[in-house]
Symmetry: D2
Subunit: 414 residues, 4 copies
């Protein structure tokens, strides 16, 4: 990406995060209900830390770090950079204050924009790392939404982050239908030279697929209600063994943010507590729930390659963060992108020939390639600039706090 374009993108992406934070009270910035859901303030600082650590310190001559302790307290998991403040305690950092974190952020922005205007140095590395930093930032902006939702949900006052935008009510969801695909030897992964991608999408390589069918829409809340009413959360035969263990240990009886009051179903959303919309796309499902619902519907999760092979032919269009509606809506037929991350049955593993980047930045993706599953497609709180057919998101099977749902697949039987 040319530097001029990159400067614009830098300004835009960085500003977006401040826009997203605008509705917060100071008190909201520090919430961390569980280790996974970092405070908004920490995300604001850590994304700045990324630019300071991987661009300003190595590439800006004479750069002085903003604060001696920030390298430690805002390092997420880069052992190559140094020790990290314990993740479960990020919510205990009342200092630096929100104002001080914004000061830090703005100081980094000033320095970054100066760096991006400089004509010295290794401009190619600076450009590619800056782009990586912006993609990293957009990932954390999505986590800002999902973590905030989880943290606010602990409060019996059910705080509203922002009111839902007025929007045209979509018509009823399409009937579930199946599109069949031939399979065969197909190329998967990001193509070199076709724009930004993460190392985990490479190298492009061949995969053999058997014929399969993919559903025309994700599973809806009405589908999940039917699953619940059929006793789905009480029948071990529908569940993976580890999933059934989790159902019992966590007393799961419905998706994460559903609540039943006087036999009415409600759902906590970033727009407050709302009556459950049966026509809406189901979200905040763990992979275990996704898998059990699929089995109950006589189907299965797609592999990541089945999904990617279909997505390769589609435009990246759908319901993303720019809509201002931070909750999935009624599905649009045959749209693979947006609304929810779709669980696949594929373990998050390295592609044949995969090599992580050199140095600490190589810890970005590779070291997480164990125990997690791939999700595809992007959600209603994803920036569309992050999404492409080859993008691999990954979470642990029991994780539920992402906007994750399920699109069914099945073997093709003539």
């Amino acid at each position: 990406m040319p530097l001029a374009h990159l400067r614009d993108m830098y300004r835009d992406v960085r500003q977006k995060f401040e826009d997203y934070c605008a509705p917060l009270e100071i008190e909201d910035y520090g919430l961390q209900a569980v280790a996974e859901t970092s405070p908004a303030k920490w995300h604001l600082a850590h994304t700045s830390w990324f630019f300071e650590t991987f661009l300003l310190k190595p590439f800006m001559p004479g750069y002085q770090p903003q604060h001696p302790a920030f390298e430690y307290i805002f390092n997420s998991y880069y052992n190559g950079v140094g020790a990290q403040f314990p993740r479960p305690q990020r919510g205990l950092l009342s200092r630096p204050t929100v104002a001080e974190v914004y000061d830090y952020r703005h100081a980094i922005d000033d320095a970054m924009l100066r760096l991006l205007e400089s004509t010295n140095g290794d401009q190619e590395t600076i450009a590619s790392r800056t782009e990586l930093g912006l993609q990293h930032e957009m990932q954390h902006q999505e986590l800002f939404f999902t973590d905030l939702k989880y943290n606010l949900a602990q409060n019996p006052l059910c705080p509203v982050y922002v009111e839902a935008p007025g929007h045209e009510e979509p018509s009823a969801p399409p009937e579930l239908a199946w599109n069949s695909h031939d399979g065969g030897i197909l190329k998967m992964g990001a193509e070199t030279g076709s724009g930004f991608c993460f190392d985990n999408e490479t190298p492009r390589h061949r995969v053999f697929l058997e014929p399969f069918e993919l559903a025309n829409r994700p599973v809806t809340n009405a589908d999940v209600l039917a699953f619940i009413e059929d006793g789905g959360y009480r029948q071990p035969a529908l569940w993976l063994a580890d999933g059934w263990g989790k159902v019992q240990e966590g007393h799961w009886q419905h998706p994460l943010y559903w609540r039943q009051q006087d036999s009415e179903w409600f759902e906590f959303t970033l727009h407050g507590l709302k009556p459950l919309n049966p026509q809406g796309i189901a979200c905040h499902l763990s992979a275990y729930e996704a898998d059990a619902i699929a089995r109950w519907m006589d189907a299965r999760l797609p592999t990541e390659f089945e999904w990617e092979s279909v997505a390769q032919g589609q435009p990246v269009e759908g319901h993303f963060v720019d809509s201002g509606l931070y909750h999935p809506d009624t599905p649009t037929p045959d749209t693979l992108f947006g609304s929810i991350w779709q669980w696949t049955s594929s373990a998050y593993s390295p592609y044949p020939g995969y090599r992580p980047a050199e140095g600490a930045i190589g810890e970005y993706n590779g070291k997480f390639m164990c125990n997690q599953l791939v999700l595809r497609g992007g959600s209603c709180v994803t920036d569309p600039r992050q999404v492409r057919a080859s993008y691999r998101n990954f979470f642990y099977p029991p994780d539920r706090w992402q906007f994750s749902g399920v699109r069914l697949a099945r073997d093709y039987c003539k």
Copy 2:
């Protein structure tokens, strides 16, 4: 206490809490590092809840609660009032905001002052409950300090709550000396009609004491340093069995807030990280440490009655919260009150004939009479209006986050 006097005291005590909070950043108000250390905001609200629940609701005609959810979220442990928001999650309540909590507090103050000016109703009960509410508030003000200290101590930036006031350096601590006491049949507990007391100080009753000796000053940091240098934290023979278990489980090697950097000792205080003052009174000791240090010094903890029998003859004077120095200093000889709470070997048990108050307010003290030890004397963050010879504070033996230390006792041997 006459109502006019009570109104003055009400205004004064309530204002004090706001004064104590003045140095905080908004972000500090919500910190809760462990279940025991509630957020400042919660203390501000809960003490108001106490007046709303036990005075305004029952005694003010037509009183409308400030918020339907506050009865639940600001109830500490009164099962007789209703369910309670889980204690470990108080730090997750970003709403109500700090400003809203102050609004709540001020609305309660307005109503309470009206109630205290009214000439109707059961004035005697209103007066005695108001006094109880103010004593309750002062207890929470002390917890405000101890909880805040623990919560700030988690931050590697070592935040300063306020700078220490300039004060005259005390001279060297007195040499350890022993005052002997005859024992015999003595009266213990609060005398009826001699001012406010909690139910757990009653009824006044007779106790037989064998002759004993009590130290002229508490154990100092120099004493604890000598204990450490002698391997005190590594010798099981010095410890109670449960204490030794805790030493190993918690990897205890020194008192709670001590830190060693390059062989120099420092101590985290509400005035920031300071070089350890060897002449200062040792604090933040668990009862296990207090007991082990006493054993190592060939002494023991006093019983609560030994302590009380000596304190009965002394004025309540010493180092309390009104000094503005929120850390113990060099000891003054033969002063039993102030600076630190002194662990006793006495289990927190009911006195013979003890009866808790009727109703939910009876949960104040009685239900905690198990597994805890009594501490006596008041600390540098205690309001002196709380302290008297018969006052019984109580914590669990492993607790370390209070300003707790040790005054030695021993059997009298001619």
Copy 3:
């Protein structure tokens, strides 16, 4: 005790343990369901270890230890002797086998009897330590019964240790009645020179007691049934705060070994699963349950001194282990001893002037004087030779696996 008498007692006490083990299968000897309930095999070995460690090694010239590893694996908690094999893993020691442990035991017996016949050495210390060893052994024999019961209770087959002996059915339990006592200054603790006692019963000292009343019989199963039917396990107002926490955490709804099948109550006993006998003395109550039941019956637990003051005038007669009935029966009026250990409200603390024995043997009692409550009286699985008015047993308030129950007390009100 004269050595000749001691030899007889040694043979008798040691033989008893083998008699108690006779009904076991080899497989039963190794069971350990929780850290507290050691395997029978371990008790057999540890009691032998006690004689080897504290008598044979120091006092028998040229004594060679039976096995180099036994000092470690059969040490319970004596830090002065050395490190200990982790208590929760005693059940994992399939070797030494049962036969090898009996060989160890018999080798110790041979050596001990030789030592007790020798006319050399410090005969006084040998005699007093041997007596201590036998009292220690009887304590472990009682634990053999309580631990075995807990361990067998985990088995859905409800194994029978031995059949209950045929015995005359007692008549109905006496009506609950109260005996009043004057209190005053009373002497408590063991009298010097009046036979064996533990260090924790000394020194004899004066205590002042207010007048009180003590029940003529312990609480029965019928009393506990009434408590349950009145919702006793669901009313927090009846419970100490820590007790209520335990009720919720452990989902307590009845005493430990009670089971309800088709609305009939049964109780697991060492004689198998039996229909609950309403007339029987209630047992396997924690101190929390004892306290809650007492409160519900408008009474309280006695202090250990109230109990002891009444017991001082009684013969040590009652239902003990020699009956062969290992479960409490219908109460006999006004008998303080036997059937069940009676919880007192007294913390297990040192008496004024208490000094533990020198050396490792001083770890026997003193280091446990924290967080536990005193129980008095002896149970149906206690050897009567252990019991006396001044004997202090001690357990943690939540402990339920001992034969522990409650005798009510109350303040005396004319």
Copy 4:
């Protein structure tokens, strides 16, 4: 398999388990150190339960179960059969005794042999289920060895299960060398009609493989020693993130059964504690360790299909349980089978078109297809009749108590 042949196999396989148990003491049969390592007695009973549940009950007319409680206590995880006695408590079942379990086993054997001689009923299903039962039994016989080893290892006496057989010392291990393979579209999974296989090996299907290289021998203890000496257990850069978490949480510094005494390395084996053999194949590695060692050796784990593609051309020969040497030895070049299970990087997932069997027996494999990795090859305690190129074993990445090691792979680069 013809029934006559099956009867012989039945007798042989069932007898083998009793032979394996012959060296045990009665006390050893009940050991269970952690939930995963079931007691030998339980394995003996559960394998009999399998025949009783899936063959005798449905197919033998008039069959009476041996004991009403066994269906419950010896059910492992078949929800379709009913509830299960909690796995972590299997070691608490001292009853039925070892003798009673053998009685149970023999009663099942008698009935099974009668069933296999009968000419009525659904002989095809009986034959295929019997074969499944025998394969199931051989799997549990392997677990008998691995569980016993773990359980005995807890004992500081280091019990010897059996002495190692005398055997010719193998020569030095071959130098590490690489065999290259072309990849391409290859058929994977069990071929229909070519003998027994589990459902998880089906259906046979096509997979595309890039060219790769596979090592001629597994990693040896000398390799692991070099890894340790290079600080491998202290460098996070070598580890997967979850692996590094486990290293820290478990304080891992070497493979599971290694012990260092006075700078000498020893290894606990089923033949007792032995000096570590540097030439031996490394075993008891978790997948995390396997992955880290591979990374440190500039290689990676193979995928299960890479491994299978090479194994397809090899005879199933190697070091298995029939050798009587229950520990891996010096490697033989280019032998893929035996000695150790080889971790692959492949998640244990269903093959395209996979269908589990109908009914409770369908819980055998399918419900475990999440969070586990595939291992291939068979170990020194595997029965060779279980092993084939398509056999998929599976364990969780942190698991270390199997005989699991690593054969390196790498991408092919000309």
